[in-house]
Symmetry: C2
Subunit: 384 residues, 2 copies
């Protein structure tokens, strides 16, 4: 899945760059967003152990895979993790190779505009020309070489054109849960990666709209992956969301000092909670999109594992040992040291984690959050 050949090409692509006005080598940082907890993987994911900390796809925890995919493109000393303060220690334990100062702990969740601004301030502290790749921590992407090639080209475009470059994926179905990007005219080609203007963002369209987007061929899925110069992003945040820009600018001088945590607490208390898409990208004149075609999955819920884990001869997938008789199409997920036994059942999600046994049909696994909502009413919040 991770081709060292591919990574070598990426390295060359970065080195070869120089056709633009700016001839310096681009200094690429990665800022991986590892904040949300999410309830769709409950009970494996909980308030204490969010989705990105889990080895959901059967390998390493998703956050570690997200970091390792960048090997050869972004060194660990330029890899930042933006996470909730409550998860900072877990992140440090999972990624011991990262400098402690690279874990940016948000005192409270304030959505992605604040997280992007925080990462940009942190990068600017080290490098006034730094380019930031904003990346999710809980997606599955392959091959890593294709992702890195796209990110490398996006970083070069962001550096050269001083734009906010979004990565867009050729859509595979009429998804109503994603953001869609309406592509405008081509604006550049970076080592074979086309860059285009953005005509419009549409967040979570209804089904007829999503179907027309899919049929029209002009729309891409918004992956939540971006490349921008730190200074350019902060200019655009200042222009479009002062409610984020002002408190974070006030905290910026304290980054990397003993006052960091206190300054961030003040900043995040005051900060507006808004996504980078709604706050900046939908309004900025400087947004571009780079169409991509790598294999991507946001692992929305347990049935996604049917697409990522090897199936047994009856179409079952499992994390942890599975013994089954007459079971078909099931997803079994067992916490460390435990196993699943299935007899005569079909298309079920069976999960055991954190003191909870969950059983639901594959087709209804998206509704698991309804069970989580029931916990409080039943005095069972300890299982959340």
């Amino acid at each position: 899945m991770r081709s060292s050949e591919g990574l070598a090409l990426v390295g060359k692509a970065v080195a070869r760059r120089g056709g633009g006005a700016d001839n310096r080598r681009v200094s690429i940082y990665a800022a991986i967003l590892a904040g949300g907890s999410g309830t769709r993987f409950w009970p494996a994911s909980t308030r204490d152990v969010p989705k990105q900390m889990l080895p959901l796809a059967g390998g390493a925890p998703l956050l570690r895979e997200s970091v390792e995919r960048l090997t050869g493109l972004v060194p660990t000393e330029r890899t930042l993790i933006v996470t909730g303060a409550r998860y900072a220690a877990q992140v440090a334990e999972l990624l011991p190779e990262l400098p402690a100062a690279n874990i940016l702990a948000e005192p409270r969740a304030r959505n992605t505009a604040a997280a992007c601004a925080l990462a940009a301030h942190r990068v600017l502290r080290d490098d006034p020309d730094g380019v930031v790749l904003m990346l999710p921590s809980d997606h599955v992407i392959s091959p890593a070489s294709e992702l890195c090639a796209a990110l490398s080209a996006a970083a070069r475009r962001a550096a050269d054109a001083r734009t906010l470059v979004t990565l867009g994926l050729r859509p595979r179905h009429a998804a109503t849960g994603y953001g869609w990007i309406d592509m405008g005219e081509p604006t550049a080609d970076v080592d074979g990666h086309e860059v285009r203007a953005v005509a419009r963002f549409t967040e979570k369209p209804d089904l007829p709209t999503a179907e027309s987007f899919l049929a029209g061929g002009r729309h891409l899925w918004n992956l939540g992956m971006f490349a921008w110069r730190a200074d350019v992003l902060l200019e655009e945040v200042a222009r479009h969301v002062p409610g984020v820009a002002i408190p974070l600018a006030a905290a910026a001088p304290a980054l990397g000092t003993a006052d960091e945590a206190a300054a961030l607490t003040v900043a995040f208390d005051a900060c507006q909670s808004i996504s980078i898409d709604h706050g900046v990208l939908e309004h900025s004149e400087r947004v571009e999109v780079m169409p991509c075609a790598f294999a991507w999955d946001d692992l929305g819920a347990f049935p996604a594992l049917l697409r990522h884990l090897p199936k047994d001869e009856h179409g079952n997938v499992s994390v942890g040992p599975l013994v089954s008789i007459d079971a078909r199409g099931c997803v079994a997920w067992a916490e460390d040291g435990s196993m699943t036994a299935l007899l005569g059942v079909k298309d079920l999600v069976v999960v055991r984690a954190n003191g909870v046994t969950l059983v639901a049909p594959v087709a209804r696994a998206q509704e698991v959050k309804r069970l989580v909502a029931e916990l409080e009413a039943r005095g069972l919040e300890r299982f959340r």
Copy 2:
């Protein structure tokens, strides 16, 4: 469920006795068979923690309930537990009120004839006229007062007539998994409890036979509950199964001494493995049956809990907390400190215990032993 009034009547029934040739008060012992492990409640029951040690019906462990049901009829100093040596420590922990010498540890499983003979020898050591009630440890019976009244009458009959008295239950359906007793002529009435001769035992009849038994009205289910004088039982064992009688007679003098364990190891190594039904009851001329009508359930597998636990408004039962949405007719069993969450499923057994999550339809829960058989082949014996 346990009526002290009922128990008082039983006490009187025992005291009032005296119409027969033998005017002494009957000295009643209970010997509760707690040997088998069984796989039908796997993974809650395992090789290490057999069914009778579990609070399957949501109350106390079944063995403790079996002992407590006899309160008022048999004092703990005359209550014996015949169990496997590997379970002796667990039994002692579960029943701390029992004298240590009352736990008879079988060095290896040799079926019920050996267990009955062992208990009889142990009783004879204390009381040459002792009557033994042989009882299972893993059934659910109510009310306790009715059981005790029947056992008291059976003990009196066994003492007076020197017979082997079996308890028979009016059958409720054409069960093919039980033993059936064909009743002969009435032989006695003990305080309103009819006693009859036994025409024949039939073990696990086929369905047409069971249906004819049910329709005929002359057959009872064999509950595996017996009353006999210890000396009478041993006479019949000696007559019909010398392969059991001889080794156990040889070990008998060591009971209660420091040599007990060693003597029993020798005896059980040499002992024939046969049930008391096949070995003695089917051949003895001294067998009688007492028809009973209390509520009885042998808890054959998890779906039996649907008959014993309170149902929620959708017909689900659970041990441990259950949160459900659109779930109906399910049996949820969660080990201590854990819970079950069900969404959109119907008529399933969902069990979590001992590192295993089991899911099967209620209608197929009897097949769980097939999964247990798979474990070894899959290198997962540690979960057995």
